[in-house]
């Protein structure tokens, strides 16, 4: 036994199938790596496209023009996005303010209150809510919600309508993700607190929820991200006037709605300006993702 035949300690690379490589094996590896690269490329592609589309407007008007508190008259060269950004944030934050707590309550219900059958049935309800297309929500909002609000305070198409519709749409996301987070907790946490004499509600409020803080926060962040991106339902009920959201009954326009409404007939700089607003929207979503990654911990890569 010579020195050559002794293997120096070295980390084993993951090639657990080493052997004579048939051409079929090579093709397989190439296809696999191509798929992985494509997934990365898809995301890169979206961002690159936004950047390319936005470049003309940015070079011509400069970023400051978009961030200034001006009006949005793109054909006249005015590109103030602030009102729409504010509206987008207002609608989304409002929706989360409603859907967040409600979603958590629903998750708590499924996990700790409902029996097997009731829990499964309610999950079906949530999945159905999630499956309803946004245009249908918009249609319902237009024909039921808006007239009701109009009866209270005209014109009806308002920030409030947007918040209500959006919160219904975001609720299933928050509820399902929060429930998944609660399920990750060790059973002994809840059962142990009950065994110590805590009432159910106290155990949940004081022990379970604080322990699941990370997952619940992540659920809310993802709900908020969805709210930010929602276009159609909001478009149909908020009135679409470009104005700062100064009252819940004000008519506003969100960034996604703006793109949807104007893209069809926008040309040149106007079209490019819409791409800029797309970039701003992505920046908001990106910010949320970063926050979620920071606080969410291990689950952050899942969605």
């Amino acid at each position: 036994m010579t020195l050559f035949q002794t293997i120096i300690s070295r980390p084993h690379r993951t090639r657990p199938f080493r052997g004579p490589r048939a051409p079929k094996d090579l093709v397989f590896v190439v296809v696999l790596w191509a798929s992985g690269v494509l997934a990365i490329g898809a995301m890169a592609g979206v961002l690159i496209v936004l950047a390319i589309g936005a470049a003309p407007a940015l070079t011509e008007a400069g970023l400051a023009a978009f961030m200034a508190d001006g009006d949005w008259y793109p054909t006249a060269g005015e590109f103030g996005l602030v009102a729409m950004v504010a509206a987008t944030l207002a609608v989304s934050a409002g929706a989360l303010a409603v859907a967040g707590p409600l979603g958590i309550l629903c998750a708590v219900y499924i996990r700790y209150y409902a029996g097997d059958v009731a829990g499964a049935a309610f999950r079906v309800v949530l999945m159905t809510l999630a499956a309803i297309p946004s245009v249908v929500y918009g249609l319902w909002g237009m024909t039921v919600l808006v007239p009701h609000i109009a009866a209270w305070q005209p014109p009806g198409t308002s920030l409030l309508a947007g918040v209500i519709v959006l919160s219904i749409m975001v609720l299933p996301t928050v509820a399902v993700l929060a429930e998944a987070g609660l399920r990750q907790l060790p059973a002994s946490l809840y059962l142990g607190s009950l065994a110590l004499g805590c009432a159910r509600h106290a155990a949940i409020k004081r022990i379970v929820l604080p322990s699941a803080k990370g997952a619940v926060a992540a659920a809310c962040m993802l709900g908020l991200a969805r709210a930010l991106g929602e276009t159609m339902a909001v478009l149909m009920v908020v009135g679409n006037a470009v104005a700062m959201p100064d009252s819940p009954f004000a008519s506003v326009r969100t960034l996604p709605a703006n793109i949807a409404l104007e893209m069809a007939y926008a040309i040149d700089v106007h079209r490019s300006a819409l791409f800029v607003s797309g970039l701003v929207l992505m920046a908001l979503v990106g910010l949320l993702l970063v926050m979620r990654w920071y606080w969410g911990g291990a689950d952050a890569a899942q969605s």
Partner: protein
């Protein structure tokens, strides 16, 4: 609040929340279906729209919807499975490549649909020259379905770790293990993921108005433009005065199709229930 009342009130709050959610769902579905079902008939499903959609049926819309969805699912399946197998077999969990891929899929999942519309418009309609077409719309939707389908596929594949080990122990090469063992074993779960993707695809409108087009006409090929059900509802509700009736009818048809397909996929998936919203 008195101590003995507290548990009662807390429980009440939870149950009230749940009841509210169920009530809202019921209210929406009932409202849409009652206003729309009356107008749905065989005629409605098989004739073309007249008078900008106020009258007539939705036949070309149904065909376009089916075509766009078919293109989307056909494109998304290999991409999602490929990405999932890549994550399970080609890279170890914590390497740069794995984290980058998972990260990109995660970001893709959060991208707003309107942004997909913009990107799809530029990539498929402009650069690749498809113009407003079912193909462009379908491929854009495939990108939207990709993250969730890949996530479900990856989770399902990882559940078959035992089979993978058995395959390696028998001296099978990796390609054989993936193709003959893991993919067939994971197939039900993968199709469930596609079912979810279908639900999302058919509900989409924002990504399609600039990619598959707005025109109502019976498409002759995937290179023609076409209008899907969701876009049709949008148009009738927003731009066509008096279009409400048919909008509800179309919405009813849409809800029924989504319910049918999701139920079908769930049944195929068997006992492995998964919640992905």
């Amino acid at each position: 609040m008195r101590r003995s009342l507290r548990p009662f009130v807390n429980d009440l709050v939870v149950r009230a929340a749940v009841a509210a959610v169920v009530f809202v769902l019921a209210a929406i579905v009932v409202h849409v279906v009652t206003r729309g079902a009356a107008l749905v008939s065989w005629d409605f499903l098989t004739t073309a729209p007249r008078a900008a959609g106020r009258a007539g049926g939705i036949a070309p819309v149904l065909v376009s919807t089916a075509a766009v969805t078919a293109v989307a699912l056909a494109a998304a399946l290999p991409l999602a499975v490929g990405a999932a197998v890549f994550l399970v077999e080609a890279v170890r969990p914590h390497t740069v490549a794995a984290r980058l891929t998972r990260g990109c899929l995660g970001v893709l999942a959060a991208v707003p649909s309107i942004v997909f519309g913009l990107a799809g418009n530029m990539i498929f309609c402009d650069w690749l020259g498809f113009g407003f077409s079912i193909l462009a719309g379908g491929l854009t939707l495939a990108l939207m379905i990709l993250p969730i389908a890949a996530c479900v596929a990856e989770t399902t594949l990882r559940m078959h770790g035992e089979d993978r080990r058995a395959g390696y122990a028998l001296g099978l090469p990796q390609r054989r293990i993936v193709w003959s063992i893991m993919l067939p074993a994971a197939a039900p779960g993968i199709f469930a993921g596609l079912g979810l993707g279908f639900g999302r695809a058919v509900a989409e409108s924002a990504a399609l108005i600039f990619t598959s087009g707005y025109v109502v006409r019976m498409p002759d090929s995937v290179f023609d433009s076409g209008r899907t059900m969701a876009v049709h509802i949008l148009d009738l509700a927003m731009n066509v005065p008096g279009g409400d009736g048919n909008a509800f009818a179309t919405a009813t048809v849409l809800l029924v199709s989504v319910a049918a397909v999701v139920a079908l996929f769930t049944a195929l998936d068997g006992k492995q229930g998964r919640e992905f919203v």
